[in-house]
């Protein structure tokens, strides 16, 4: 069993506990954002929740490494991003069953079947449009829409200039708008 490093042996236990406590609060705060970010990346909330849980658990397990110099939020998002990239790499390598119907899980629950059908069609179109974005644009858009990070924070998370982040978000949004122009009315309602 790998021995976890324990700064408590040398350092101040109270400060250590307080740091862990504040990181825990940061993880709880970031949960929604991380889930939305991953939802944007994979288009399915089952998978997003699964990945978010693993990523946040990773962040918590590595709490000793968080030195407090950087912002906890960007640190957590960076871990979530790396986790997602790892996951993608693993999948490429490992044969797996393909998703039968990824959109099926996103189908709406309404009392009105006609409205439900319309919504389902929209959801499917949006999922397809998101999936068609280049990875960099999808990532930038997802991070921004996760509601947790500003452009500057995204730039720090991705380690690219702010202008690059903005141009990716702009290109991504424009591309989505172009693809989803036919659903203009439903989207603006």
């Amino acid at each position: 069993v790998k021995e976890p490093t324990r700064p408590a042996d040398t350092g101040d236990t109270a400060t250590h506990a307080a740091a862990a406590q504040s990181l825990r609060a940061a993880i709880e705060d970031a949960c929604q954002g991380v889930r939305w970010y991953l939802l944007g990346m994979c288009g399915n909330w089952h998978e997003a929740d699964e990945a978010a849980q693993q990523a946040l658990a990773k962040a918590w397990a590595r709490r000793e490494q968080f030195d407090g110099r950087s912002d906890a939020r960007t640190w957590i998002f960076a871990i979530a991003r790396n986790h997602w990239l790892d996951e993608m790499r693993k999948r490429k390598r490992a044969p797996r069953t393909e998703p039968v119907e990824t959109v099926a899980d996103n189908l709406s629950v309404t009392d009105d079947p006609a409205a439900g059908l319309e919504q389902d069609e929209l959801a499917r179109a949006v999922a397809e449009a998101m999936a068609s974005l280049p990875a960099e644009q999808r990532e930038a858009v997802s991070l921004r829409e996760s509601g947790a990070l500003t452009f500057a924070e995204i730039a720090r998370t991705l380690d690219v200039p702010v202008a690059t982040v903005k141009s990716r978000v702009r290109a991504g949004l424009a591309r989505l708008a172009e693809k989803l122009r036919p659903y203009h009315r439903e989207l603006s309602s």
Partner: protein
């Protein structure tokens, strides 16, 4: 502002990252420029699309967070069928990471159920004693044995994972019968044990003479990819590379990245594991198991038919008590000699035991016993593998020998035995009725503690746990939920909850519910003077206002320095213990009561209030 500047700022505008002044400028430009407005509409449309997707989010933050802070493996979340295989648990992750492994049964040898010389047992009886949760401590408990999450399972990597919640602890007595135990030494295989078992706590008893245990093994070397590979060193297997080419050869070595294979008649060949799609093994090597198993080498000098009793401790089983107090609506008011008003409520009380099983196995038809009381548990020193959480060895032996556990209390604890047998499934939460009592009389008290809150008045129910009050049973620690009816005809509504500790019979129970809506307090310090060397005198004024339609008696409770030697008050007061003053005040409907008191104390010694002579 020109169009170039505006477009630069458009995204910040859309996401609300601009300051007031800049926003005004952008809006002014947008009002006059069609191109920029179209651009904004496009971006907004894109944004609306992403938000549509987020609105379909049916996940749950709490469910996700639930598994994050435990060091135990992440919670397995139920997923609908047809879902892509994201690694579910450690083993699955390991398998995915290194390729898909396939066991090809050798047609020449039939599937090996139990190797020769092993005897399987038939279960006769099963009893479970679940311990109650010990008092809160700051120490993390060592949780169930868990493999290192990032590595394949191997014996050397097992160790207790620390958890912050109580993992649950239970004593299992499992009686099994063997029909054909041959004379001499043989191996007895005992499966169906929980993955969360404490191997060092296992005890085997035979009820007849003649059976001697020579050796005991707890095997959890499960048939994971790495464990199988390990056994195939120097043996032949077939690897499929890039979904097309098969390589058959002797496995020389393996690590996380490469398999080294030597095809017959050729030199060794290193194969990158990322290119491997599957590995075919001729058979499942011996000694690997598909679930945790206890194995004994026994020496039998007696009969072929033997009954064995196995007792062990396991994590993962816990129980707690939940109580429901339903106010029946009947109420009594008693005027005391001092002119105060005492209110008594009548209620029905029901207690339930909530049992949770996360031990890894289902206990079929088990005799269920719940133990209430704080059992001492020994925490390990350091992270040595032998240092699991365990109770005194002698204690476990003693309990295992107690036939049936029929008595109601033993040693310093209480035991609740379920009258029938029940099945407790893996990952199940079960509620079983513990006790019921109808027409329990509770005294309702209003308590004003200005040092905790100078405004709020607490509502408390007090009762004596005695037979005269329909109770008189030892009540285990748990949560109490209060249900009350707004009027006699309507359904009861959930009103408040409280906690009780283990309460023996004939002791007082106190349920602290919450705060009274219609009672308001007010506290004010009138003076604090130094009288001389280390002598002080303080004067306080408390006001209590009653907005109910009937008179209410409130008890004012306040801590004073233990060296207080003089108290003057405008109401009769009492000191139930050193350093505590209580005053009963009755407040008329719509009225106000004023309590004024002066207490004098020193920092020396002397005649303390409430101190016996």
């Amino acid at each position: 502002m020109n169009c170039t500047t505006c477009r630069d700022l458009l995204l910040d505008y859309l996401y609300g990252e601009l300051d007031e002044a800049r926003r005004g400028e952008v809006e002014a430009h947008l009002a006059s420029c069609d191109d920029c407005r179209t651009e904004l509409e496009t971006l907004s449309l894109g944004r609306a699309a992403v938000r549509t997707q987020l609105q379909h989010d049916r996940g749950d933050n709490n469910a996700v967070l639930a598994g994050v802070f435990d060091q135990a493996p992440p919670q397995r979340r139920r997923r609908p069928a047809g879902w892509l295989l994201v690694p579910l648990a450690t083993a699955a992750a390991a398998i995915l990471a290194i390729g898909l492994w396939v066991y090809l049964p050798d047609p020449a040898s039939p599937a090996k159920a139990a190797p020769m010389g092993e005897v399987k047992l038939v279960r006769k009886d099963l009893s479970l004693t679940i311990f109650s949760t010990p008092p809160q401590t700051t120490t993390a408990y060592p949780g169930p044995l868990s493999p290192d999450r990032n590595k394949p399972w191997r014996l050397g990597q097992w160790g207790p994972g620390y958890v912050h919640g109580w993992p649950g602890l239970a004593l299992v007595r499992d009686e099994r019968a063997i029909a054909n135990l041959k004379a001499g030494t043989s191996t007895v295989r005992f499966d169906g044990v929980p993955t969360a078992i404490l191997p060092t706590s296992v005890r085997l008893d035979s009820d007849r003479d003649g059976v001697q245990v020579l050796e005991q093994n707890y095997q959890y070397d499960l048939a994971t990819a790495s464990a199988v590979l390990e056994r195939y060193i120097d043996r032949t297997l077939t690897v499929r590379v890039d979904q097309a080419q098969d390589v058959t050869g002797k496995l020389l070595s393996y690590d996380d990245r490469f398999l080294v294979l030597q095809p017959s008649g050729e030199g060794p060949r290193s194969i990158d594991r990322s290119a491997v799609t599957s590995v075919s093994f001729p058979d499942l090597p011996e000694g690997l198991l598909t679930r945790p198993t206890l194995m004994w080498r026994v020496d039998n000098r007696g009969a072929a038919r033997q009954d064995l009793t196995v007792a062990y401790l396991t994590y993962g089983l816990q129980w707690r008590a939940d109580y429901v107090v339903k106010l029946s609506g009947r109420q009594e008011t008693v005027a005391t000699d001092e002119g105060h008003r005492e209110i008594y409520d009548y209620a029905d009380l029901a207690g339930y035991a909530t049992v949770t099983n996360n031990s890894g196995v289902t206990f079929e038809e088990a005799q269920l016993k719940l133990m209430a009381g704080d059992v001492r548990v020994i925490l390990p020193s350091g992270r040595r593998l032998s240092g699991y959480l365990e109770t005194d060895g002698a204690w476990v032996q003693e309990q295992a020998q107690l036939g049936g556990f029929e008595q109601k209390s033993f040693f310093e604890y209480h035991l609740y035995t379920l009258g029938r047998k029940t099945t407790i499934r893996e990952a199940e939460t079960k509620q079983i009725e513990l006790m019921t009592a109808a027409g329990v009389k509770m005294k309702r008290r209003y308590i004003y503690r200005p040092q905790r809150s100078d405004r709020l008045v607490q509502v408390v129910s007090e009762l004596i746990n005695e037979e005269a009050n329909q109770l008189g049973k030892p009540l285990p620690k748990g949560t109490v939920r209060l249900w009350a009816r707004p009027d006699p005809e309507s359904d009861p509504l959930y009103a408040a909850s409280s906690q009780i500790d283990h309460t023996p019979k004939d002791e007082k129970l106190t349920f602290t519910w919450g705060h009274a809506f219609d009672l308001v307090g007010e506290a004010r310090s009138l003076s604090k003077r130094k009288l001389g060397d280390a002598h002080w005198r303080e004067t306080w004024r408390y006001k209590l206002r009653n907005h109910k339609d009937h008179a209410v008696s409130v008890t004012l409770v306040r801590d004073v320095p233990p060296t207080t030697y003089d108290v003057q008050a405008n109401h009769p007061w009492r000191a139930p213990r050193v350093g505590l003053i209580e005053i009963d005040v009755t407040v008329q409907p719509g009225g106000e009561a004023v309590v004024e008191w002066t207490h004098t104390y020193n920092h020396l010694s002397g005649r303390w209030v409430g101190r016996p002579n």
